[in-house]
Symmetry: D2
Subunit: 361 residues, 4 copies
């Protein structure tokens, strides 16, 4: 069963292992005629790449990529686009002494149970390394979206790290988000988040948090009415990140505490355009975008790999002490920001393509 | 694009409009040889059906169903199972004066934008009425699951209504959940919830809340490692309910506030079975079930249809006053409990079938 | 695995058993806004229905149908269209003494091997009865095609029965085809075919033959370049009819005997339109329609059920004598003409929808 | 729309252009635990590769391949297998003067019509070059099949070139087929075929023919009963080869000329195994394999590229004389033999995986 693929019409198939020769993606269903700027792809890859700052992992990958097919003269041909990112700083030997130990919070045990064995090289497919190709694919999707909807923008940021929450304002662009290595535009909060991450790193511990994402300029009509609702597809995409434990839209979990008379977004007409006066719904009604900003939150658990020693079992069920080696982030959120943007772009382009075939008149 | 279908191998295609002749589902990919108890289907339909208590809508549907195909002598044939539930108490005339008004919180505006027109009969496909067939399909899925995993149980309950939250204990079975018409086994909380719903109903208002679901007895190994992770598929399924604004797993959004050293679930061995000592992950690691209980939360916004008058616009953007008629629930959660169970069963059976083809040895 | 579905975007899921309550189809992916003439559907159903002439089976079904969903006011809503055709003249008792005997040429043995048991009621899913719903779905597809391409026409006819072959001319329309109950517009050939069928019927035997289909007015650009080539999709569709043993395009199997210099269709320009001077390719190049008529041939084996006694085995491998009862056609081709047209329409509309999303400019 | 993919559960996505950096395939849905012999892959690639004999094209590609993912220690991991075959002898300059000319029999015109432009480098995706990756994927599929069904064998051969037909005997293995560069085990016919090909080459012309394929040792039960019948899936696969104009099973197009009483394959029991006494059906009943040899025929038109000058038009519809350069085969059939085998293996493994989930007992 093809479960390494996301998207229904614009489909991204992920391949590659963390410590094999490299990782990549094949995108099938790319419409012909999208103009591609390779530098824009690299820019997003740089925001995700390891070793980019003092608060990220020390694994050092430049994440240079090759386009093996589907683009000719900076234009998509309509044929599949294959993206290839070689692994350069893989160290499978880091994992040798872990090959029969189940790391808490990791997929070692469940992979063994599922397949009867597992790729011992650093998590194999469960490594976040494979998301580099998703980021590249997401940039291609984003360029496709912008070609048709020039006003669309997808901006994610770190809105919470551990107990530090950013204020409620939205960033205007990605540059503002990138002012801090934490990727939070609320400068005061960002400084506290950074301190918390450094403290956790020094303590051999790790932190989680929340990423919020806003999509401005998305036209009304995107998303399907029954299954494949816009929120269902976005939620599904986000929940495919290993550390994500929840996703919510608009007022999210706080919706439970409002009454209908308080939470309904009233329709108004502004200069002939129908809008809502508030946006508790997060820009979605009946599974379909309503033209207001799409807003959602994604919660990440703290990184499972920590520096301190943990008690666990091996594949015979025998107790053992785990002293993690391997390189890891004390807090994955700053590097996850472009991944959230990429999955959003892939999902939106896929649904935008589906939308073009919903009418036959 | 076929967007009325959920599931990849066990696929449920939903059809029918709220105020047309009826609603139904065709399940393709039903393996041959599942023994089906029709009474078990009816039992779940009764828990969802309108008019079941003083806190639900007054639309009165018995939700009797026909199996049009795929089952012979109480056994699935391997051919598609078609479920048909006629509409008996439809009143399209209730919606006549609404055909050009955009009800706040509803899909009227987004449907019009998407398709250029809409079925004016009571929301058409956006009505929760269509979920009756999902409940029937879910019961078939559940029976398939139990045939292979006799110990599996799927139990959802209302854990929050407005500001009233149930305690942390889990219900032992559905009977316990059904002791209150609110479907909450915490009797004290249930009474307060019921009072809150009645008060909202009398005030012409509506309430939201949270449903929690626990799956016991699910074997380890269910769910796919990259896309179609167990949490992604369950989350997607839940987010296809119109009122749902978020979903979370295990410790959920609270995960952000813990450190890795606190949140990691330590592996232990009990009587030769590998388990985790805590279950912050909600029974899922790397997208795959680990044999612990699967636990997740689903938040519902308050019903969009309320009794009080609201300002809105019509399809020309002209301001108008909306005085809702049509019948509706002041709080959808009690009736949504079997729907959450049904979508869980459909998702789990689909992933269990996928799991059977993950190895070739 | 959902293997009762044909089409990728315009998807037709077939359901129902030959001798159960009825048969039907759910079409998901119907674009909104197709105007539907129910009489056109009935017309094609009448051309397929049993008991229509002295050379078809005596099973008598009026094949009245219900549209259970997806159409409102003669217009598709964008939601799934469910078609339901009740069985009225089913006689499961005809098959009682066959429940453990393997009829030669039938699916009894392979179904038993595949599923471990089978629906004994007249072939269940292997009966041609289920194609009635395909014909209805095909008519809906055809109406969708004509709405966008007013000049398109799909005309199939019986071009060979046993050793009698029709001349090489093409029929101008379906009326011409229907002048003979054999559905061949070559009147002389048709008379000989009819005589051959009657002779076979009287001898308790059965005949096969060839149906040819021509699609005029199909625009260039339909069909995909790698997989899902136009000929691959049409061929696949036809080979899903139980009696079909081969399919060929344009010059077909005779292509082997020509040289490249003879068979290449030269491009010419006529009134500014690029055409080919010959049409050996059957209107397809590189998997994509080139604007010339699409022409293909479908060969049907003789009906497996025959009146004379046959030696066979039962499900214990014991030899037994089979004296077929049940009603059947001595030659299925006349009734198969609208089925070939239906599968062609479904395939073409599906590929036409795919074509609309191949560019993004 | 993802139309570069074949297979439903074992899915092969083809990528790459004929004169770009290379071509490849990603296989998603590979079950874990298949032992892979890389030499077996190379063997089949060598049978397909250009420049292998005096009757094939002079383009010289060694078709060395890399496995970029999904296999570790010669065993499939359950993750996607990416195959990469660099282009080494590409000569895009050969096609420079053809960029606005429509070559007869080629996809130039239909690609331009479909996409508005095309990759001018030697046909791009329409080149048979891309089938090299299919052959590699097919070898992996074949190894998966043999692991579960040790007795299975897939053998294709050239049974006709132009007017020369081989006798009716079946080859015992691929070695026998490879005794002649034509890939026909009937030595006398092979010699005549070879002479015909050389004569056509010298005359600047090209020839077509027929490939027959036999699958021995396939268990009964493979193939689905309604859509995705075994013959539909095999036929679809073959018709995705550009030169193929028809496909037939068992007695094929000759079936039309037999009566039911002559063509029915009688069931018999031999040593407790149920077989048929003849095999007119080609090993398939009701869309499902019956345990007898699966036999089918595939007809190829002569190569469209010929050495002699042809009249055609350019993309403005202006008449022009085409003098083909570029390298090509005078007869594609000898090199197409391993491609037919590969597509057969991919289809059979996919259906074999589907078969494992058809029962739930």
């Amino acid at each position: 069963m093809a479960t390494n693929r996301i998207g229904n019409l614009f489909t991204v198939t992920s391949f590659g292992e963390s410590h094999g020769p490299g990782i990549g993606a094949v995108i099938d269903g790319v419409p012909a005629g999208i103009n591609i700027d390779l530098k824009a792809i690299k820019l997003q890859l740089n925001r995700r790449r390891p070793g980019q700052s003092h608060i990220s992992t020390t694994r050092n990958e430049t994440d240079d990529f090759d386009i093996l097919s589907g683009i000719y003269g900076n234009k998509t041909l309509g044929s599949p686009v294959c993206i290839w990112i070689p692994n350069k700083d893989q160290k499978p030997e880091d994992y040798e002494n872990l090959s029969n130990v189940y790391r808490p919070g990791h997929a070692d045990f469940t992979y063994d149970t599922k397949y009867g064995f597992r790729d011992p090289r650093g998590g194999g497919r469960s490594s976040a390394r494979i998301t580099a190709a998703w980021v590249a694919a997401g940039s291609i999707a984003e360029q496709g979206l912008k070609q048709r909807y020039p006003d669309i923008s997808i901006i994610a940021w770190v809105s919470q790290v551990h107990k530090v929450k950013a204020g409620f304002s939205y960033p205007k662009n990605r540059q503002e988000v990138d002012l801090s290595p934490v990727r939070c535009h609320d400068i005061n909060a960002a400084r506290l988040m950074e301190e918390a991450i450094i403290a956790a790193k020094e303590a051999g511990d790790s932190l989680g948090g929340v990423i919020t994402c806003i999509v401005n300029g998305c036209p009304a009509g995107i998303g399907e009415p029954v299954f494949q609702k816009l929120q269902a597809r976005l939620g599904e995409a986000m929940l495919n990140l290993n550390a994500v434990k929840g996703v919510s839209f608009g007022t999210g979990f706080y919706s439970a505490e409002y009454k209908g008379s308080e939470l309904n977004d009233a329709f108004i007409s502004e200069n002939g355009i129908i809008k809502t006066s508030t946006n508790h719904s997060g820009g979605i009604q009946g599974g379909i975008s309503n033209g207001m900003p799409i807003v959602f939150q994604v919660v990440f658990k703290p990184t499972s790999t920590i520096g301190s020693s943990q008690l666990t079992v091996d594949d015979n069920g025998k107790e053992t002490q785990l002293n993690a080696t391997g390189r890891h982030d004390p807090c994955v959120l700053p590097r996850a920001v472009p991944i959230v943007e990429a999955l959003t772009a892939i999902t939106l382009l896929d649904l935008a393509i589906i939308q073009t075939i919903s009418r036959w008149d």
